[in-house]
Amino acid sequence: MTMILAVVEQRDGTLRKISHEVVTSAHRLGGSVDALVCAAGPVKGADQLGKFGADKIVTLTNAAFAKYAPEGMAQAIAERAKSGGYTAVVFAASATGKDLAPRVAAKLGVALAGDVTDVGVEGGVVVATRPVYAGKALLKVKVTGQPAVLSVRPNVFTPVERPKAGTAETVATAVPAGRVAVREIKAAEAGTLDVAEAQIVISGGRGLKEPANFKVLEELARAFGGQAAVGASRAVVDAGWRAHADQVGQTGKTVSPTLYIAVGISGAIQHLAGMRTSKVIVAINKDKDAPIFKVADYGVVGDLFEVVPKLTEEIKKLHG
């Protein structure tokens, strides 16, 4: 019997939405799925994971797990992965998952296929596909470790509801907290959605002309009613107009939103590396020969200071 361990995430005692994607992708590997969350106590929303097909929801509790505790959590997860006899362990390729998965894989002495955009089983072996070379190629690999350890790229696996009554199990774990401790989290402005997790990303480049003009994009983001985040190209981050946290591209974040709107961005290969797996790409640029139009599904050639406010107006109409 195939058993999959889906390692899900919480912050401040609330399940993170990406957890639905992790459970959904774990399901692709067949068999039964146990969702595992490390926390200091009960996790709000964890009981919802049954809806996405988790057979069991395991909460591993430890006082140190109130914040991210890389060493303690890695040990607790590795112990569970071993004792549970799982065939695969699936993480999110989130900031936390990218930190945690290699630690767990090394503790288990197995390989990690990270940031995958497709998973499955072929001939009894876990297979995964990962974008490489700045997204200019896809690498399909067999993951033959026991267990196979994977992390899945955010926003790629659309959560699928498979209502099921998942059982719940809470186990206190006595692992030491570890030497690496999170002292604090400096939160971004309240209500700001991270570009890596937003369903809609509107990114601006040099075409915005000056930092204050990003308000045009922020207004458009607001018109989408809390689903959209504002991103930036490397050029404007390097110029100090926007924070590095907002940068989309090779030396920034990789995003896969449902809708990506590139505004005043020419579309250098390094930028494309960060957004080419977006489902639908819209480009707004005054230069009709800009490379961004080659990857865009829909393009509007024109002055962004006329096009974007009009788009904001139309979106507002839709969202009433």
Binding site: A95, P102, R103, G114, L139, K140, V182, H244, V300, V301
Partner: protein, 254 residues
């Protein structure tokens, strides 16, 4: 302060990707190779830390083919003291194997810090640093965009979704570098000349899965699916209503 920096030789990000005839690897003909950009942050950080401490050494470690000597020389030209190439013509897709080779080599040294770039821009594995830390039993912080060290205590900042995580850890430790950590220097002509005379050890290594151990096996390297040809909806604000209609009715994303 003794600092080891692990680097990788990668194709320049502007490279046109051509898939080799085996259907599993990059056709390297005509490809320009560079020091992985994230590793430049790691090298720079090491140099600044050593300069601040006033003593110690910065040693470069690289798993790669013979040609990676050139990549190591780049780091030496920036100011690192010596280099070690763990020579293997093939770099495994399985980062754990690379981590094992590096850990075996680093074990012999006494390092205050072992630095990596947070990922290589060719395979995007983003795992060798923390795996080496596990193998050596060292604390590890990944994707540090800010680093402070005071004696045997370090504080790093890493970007997470919607915020910045401030992490404390004891030294010695493994830290992987994100953009923002510093501004890497360009090697000056003097540095380039000096680098030619700096020690560079070449040690052949056998990289491969041991019997019975699972790993990563490449099935195929393929071009990404072609995005279907996009269309220019129109020009200026007048095109917006049609754009919105297409997004709703054709793409169904609104």
């Amino acid at each position: 302060m003794n600092i080891a920096v692990c680097i990788k030789r990668v194709p320049d990000s502007e490279t046109r990707v051509k898939i080799a005839s085996d259907g599993k690897s990059l056709d390297e003909a005509g490809v320009k190779f560079v020091l992985n950009p994230y590793d430049e942050f790691a090298v720079e950080e090491a140099l600044q830390r050593k300069e601040k401490a006033g003593s110690g050494e910065v040693a470069i470690f690289c798993v790669g083919p013979a040609a990676a000597q050139e990549t190591i020389r780049t780091a030496l030209a920036m100011g690192a003291d010596r280099g070690v190439l763990l020579q293997s013509e093939k770099i495994p897709a399985d980062g754990y194997i690379t981590a094992q080779a590096l850990a075996a080599e680093l074990k012999a040294g006494k390092w205050d810090l072992i630095l990596f770039g947070k990922m290589a821009i060719d395979d995007y594995n983003q795992q060798v640093g923390p795996m080496v830390a596990e193998l050596l039993g060292l604390p590890c912080v990944t994707a540090a965009a800010h680093l402070e060290i005071d004696g045997a205590k370090g504080v790093a900042e890493r970007e997470i979704e919607g915020g910045i995580e401030v992490v404390e850890f004891p030294l010695p430790a493994v830290v992987t570098a994100d953009k923002g950590l510093n501004e890497p220097r360009y090697p000056a002509l003097k540095g380039i000349m000096a680098a030619k005379k700096k020690p560079l050890d070449v040690k052949p290594v056998q990289l491969g899965p041991r019997e019975g151990e699972g790993g990563i096996e490449i099935v195929a390297l393929t071009p990404p699916p072609q995005r279907k040809d996009g269309k220019i909806v129109g020009e200026g604000a007048a095109a917006v209503p049609e754009l919105v209609r297409l997004l709703r009715e054709e793409a169904k994303v609104l």
